[in-house]
């Protein structure tokens, strides 16, 4: 059972007092009315009793007048009528007295009832005697004679009856008067007593009325106070709602928004006052259908009192939404709003309203984004610095130069005129080759940030290659990514310059004798001298480790003669070797299990040999002991990729099949990875060799080996004919 609080008790006390006073006053008034009625009856009884007290004497006087009239033979008719009237009046008075006594409660009192009964007892014989007299006619009482008037027989009878009545009722009349006198005294006492009671009652009523009035005044005072407090609270709430920056509003169970809300709500939502609108109607212009649906479900959960509102806060779909407010002129205004909801409980146990709070969190969101970008940039720069420090400086410098050249070559391709379908496809292939070549070199150097970027360009180009109705503007993404790649290259170049400066400074300092410079000795031991430029073999070894790492294959790389590559072919041999090693690992060398099943050593071997094949040519041989080339498989893949139609595939001989693997877009890899799947690697090799005026030879045996032999012309070679002539 709910117990009333002290405050509630204080509020209810005057009300209870007023109710008690009113009830008591009503009771008093009721009692007073009854007492007044009794007093009225008692007064009437007193008046009647007093009147009756004189009645016997009046009747006796009338009887005496009749007696004397009869004796003197005078007219007695008036007295007889007066006597009859007196009797009637007396009888009526007795009846009324009895009624009045009963109404005044005197009938219940023994003494008064006894007096009344005795008075009636004494009245009864007199009443009977008077009744008899009434039967006597007043005429014919006298007879005239010579000797004067004499009583007639009826006159004589009347006189006898009057004499007898006077004689017999003399004592009775006196007693009757006495009884009535006593009765009157008793009634008077009762009247006085009732009067006093009524006075007391009236005084009590006046007291109660005063108390009631005081209570009412107290109530009025309290009501005034409450009204003033409510008015003040209303004013304060108005101030809060007008000042607070958040949009505050209440949602009722039917989804409607209450009339009271903060002024900011209108400004935040750029909408008229939402009073009477449903929350859904308010929200609809701000969010999409999915969010609207989610918000409805979330509010539904809030109405369920068993659901913990703290726990469901995390699923609030409106915790942060982006909205665009259209303006009459200029761009739409983009803001971020955050809605939060709390249950609002009234006096009852259940939820009466849901309090909605909406705030503009645009500044916070933008600041947060800036911080995240800054953090990402810092992380990225740390990672780049690590890449720089791990890469041999000369290799890095060479690579960065190659990136710049590669991007410029791509840009030149894109800049070249021609927007026909074939020309656009050629541009795609050209940029693809450049990117693939750079990606290979980046992977070999472990420059992941470049691998990611070049791979991203390849992804874009791959999508364009398959796109129907290709147009120039489809290349916007490619250009933007090339721009990013170049920016990245410039960033790394700038970083490398600083690192080099720091290294040089450290090396210079190490030349100073340690005994003169204290800490310099420590610096000189920590700052290692710039490492000797790593050779192509080291790059290829690293590439082999990188490419084979994700798979279940293991590779041993055997290099020969790479240190004898002349400067004019350094870049070419590097590019070709990188692509060929990558190609051999991805497509040639089998997984350990397969090799074991085929009776091969578990570690695959790739041999690279550079040599002077003749006075006119260099030879670059790349051989792996992998699965070899399978013409049937090549044909199937060419068919699948649409590089051949069915007839062409059927006519494809072994040499043709081997030639297919150099086609742009050809790959037998089942999925695209950073290292394979685009069908660009051998295209790069083919293009590079041809650009040098060289040629490629292939020999293979399925399940045994694949050997590529690239013949590159020697530019320092003398014409044999000229030599012989000399």
């Amino acid at each position: 059972m709910a117990r009333l609080s002290l405050n509630q008790r204080v509020q209810w006390l005057p009300l209870a007092l007023a109710a008690v006073c009113t009830a008591a006053l009503a009771l008093l008034l009721f009692t007073g009315v009854r007492l007044a009625a009794r007093l009225q009856s008692a007064s009437s009884a007193l008046q009647l009793a007093s009147g009756l007290t004189a009645q016997p004497q009046l009747l006796r006087s009338e009887l005496t007048l009749i007696q004397r009239g009869l004796e003197t033979q005078t007219y007695v008719g008036d007295s007889l009528r007066s006597l009859a009237a007196g009797r009637t009046t007396s009888n009526q008075a007795y009846a009324r007295l009895e009624t009045a006594m009963r109404a005044a409660g005197l009938a219940a009192r023994t003494d008064a009832a006894s007096r009344y009964a005795q008075a009636r007892t004494h009245w009864q014989p007199l009443d009977d005697g008077l009744a008899r007299l009434e039967k006597t006619r007043s005429a014919g009482l006298y007879a005239d004679s010579a000797g004067g008037s004499t009583l007639t027989a009826s006159g004589t009878a009347l006189k006898r009856a009057v004499d007898e009545l006077l004689a017999t009722q003399s004592h009775n009349t006196a007693a009757l008067a006495g009884e009535l006198g006593d009765l009157a005294a008793l009634v008077r006492t009762a009247v006085v007593r009732d009067g006093q009671s009524l006075r007391t009652l009236l005084l009590g009523g006046a007291g109660l009325a005063s108390l009631l009035l005081a209570t009412m005044l107290y109530f009025a005072w309290r009501a005034g106070q409450a009204a003033r407090a409510a008015s003040e609270a209303q004013r304060q709430i108005g101030n809060i709602l007008g000042t607070v920056r958040e949009g505050l509003f209440l949602i009722a169970r039917d989804g409607r928004i209450g009339g009271a809300h903060s002024d900011s709500l209108v400004a935040l939502l750029r909408a008229p006052a939402p009073a009477g609108q449903t929350f859904e109607e308010l929200l609809r212009p701000l969010v999409d259908e999915k969010t609207l649906l989610g918000a409805g479900k979330f509010l539904g959960l809030l109405w369920k009192d068993k659901v913990n509102e703290e726990l469901i806060e995390s699923v609030n779909p409106l915790s942060q939404i982006e909205v665009n407010f259209q303006r009459a002129q200029g761009p739409a205004e983009q803001r971020y709003l955050s809605f939060s909801f709390r249950r609002a409980r009234g006096a009852g146990a259940g939820t009466d309203f849901v309090l909605g709070v909406v705030a503009d969190v645009t500044d916070r969101v933008l600041l947060q984004r800036e911080l995240e970008q800054l953090r990402a940039s810092n992380d990225s720069q740390s990672s780049l610095l690590l890449q720089l420090l791990q890469t041999e400086p000369v290799q890095l410098q060479s690579f960065l130069n190659n990136v710049e050249v590669g991007v410029r070559r791509c840009n030149a391709l894109l800049r070249s005129p021609g927007i026909g379908a074939a020309e656009l496809q050629q541009k795609i292939q050209g940029v693809f080759r450049e990117m693939h070549s750079l990606k290979g070199e980046a992977a070999a150097l472990g420059m992941d940030s470049f691998v990611e970027r070049t791979h991203a360009v390849e992804e874009l180009l791959a999508a364009l290659r398959e796109q129907a109705g290709l147009a120039g503007d489809d290349f916007v993404g490619v250009v933007v990514k090339l721009d990013d790649l170049l920016s990245h290259q410039q960033l790394l170049a700038a970083m490398q310059e600083r690192v080099d400066q720091a290294r040089n400074a450290a090396v210079s300092a190490s030349d100073i004798p340690p005994d003169k410079h204290g800490d310099t000795a420590v610096i000189s031991t920590r700052a290692a001298p710039a490492p000797r430029p790593a050779g192509l073999e080291q790059i290829l070894q690293r590439l082999a480790r990188e490419v084979s790492a994700p798979g279940a294959r293991e590779v041993r790389l055997a290099c020969e003669g790479l240190e004898r590559v002349p400067a004019e072919y350094a870049g070419v041999v590097r590019d070709i070797s990188i692509q060929m090693v990558r190609n051999a690992i991805v497509h040639g060398i089998e997984a350990r299990d397969e090799r074991a099943a085929a009776g091969k050593p578990p570690v695959g071997t790739i041999r690279i040999r550079f040599s002077e094949a003749s006075p006119q040519e260099y030879s670059l041989l790349v051989e792996d002991d992998g699965q070899g080339l399978d013409p049937a498989r090549i044909r199937d893949h060419a068919l699948e990729r649409g590089l051949l139609d069915v007839e062409q595939a059927a006519a494809l001989n072994q040499t043709g099949a081997y030639r297919m693997i150099f086609q742009p877009g050809f790959s037998t890899a089942s999925e695209v990875t950073e290292h394979a799947g685009r069908g660009v690697g051998l295209d790069v090799v083919n293009t590079t060799v041809r650009e040098c005026g060289g040629r490629i030879g292939i020999s293979t045996q399925p399940g045994k080996y694949t050997r590529f032999k690239m013949m590159l012309p020697r530019h320092d070679a003398t014409d044999p004919a000229q030599s012989s002539a000399a």
């Binding site: 982006e322 205004e333 840009n411 800049r415 503007d473 250009v479």
Partner: protein, 157 residues
């Protein structure tokens, strides 16, 4: 009011908005579609401008400019296509300014309040260069219409 999609626009999509704006102008106002050449970067030199150039400058999330530059001959033919007989210098300036204004409108519509876009300005005279942001690398998008060549230059950083 339009609900935001919550994704920030990339430079690629921003450039795409301007390219689409120019192509749409040709398709709707000139009623003859233009074609877009393959975009490229202005690496070594600042891109030269043609006879008339309409420019809008952008600040806010990115800083830079967008310019549409076209030869007088091309703009004259465009005016003819638009039933205009007055080929005066002022009208040619107005046309290139209107194209820049269209680009400005598209940018306002698609980029929201993160970009502040200037009132379009017109430069008349061939061979000059524009003031680009220090770190920006202009992207040049060739616009081919009939046998004429215009360029859209976008440089945002």
């Amino acid at each position: 009011m339009i609900a935001g999609n919550g994704t920030a626009m990339t430079l690629e999509s921003e450039v795409g908005v301007f390219v689409a704006g120019v192509l749409h102008y040709f398709a709707s106002s000139v009623q003859q579609a233009a074609r877009c050449g393959t975009p490229h970067l202005a690496l070594s030199e600042r891109p030269e401008i043609a006879d008339y150039t309409g420019i809008i400058r952008i600040s806010g999330k990115r800083t830079g400019l967008v310019a549409f530059t076209a030869p007088k001959s091309m703009l004259s033919v465009m005016l003819m296509r638009m039933q205009e007989t007055d080929m005066s210098h002022e009208n040619l300036c107005d046309l290139v300014g209107e194209i820049a204004n269209t680009l400005s409108g598209n940018a306002r519509r698609d980029f929201g309040h993160q970009f502040q876009i200037s009132v379009p300005e017109v430069v008349a005279g061939r061979g000059g260069t524009l003031e680009y942001p220090a770190q920006g690398r202009p992207i040049v998008i060739p616009i081919e219409w009939r046998n004429y060549h215009a360029r859209l230059i976008v440089c945002l950083q």
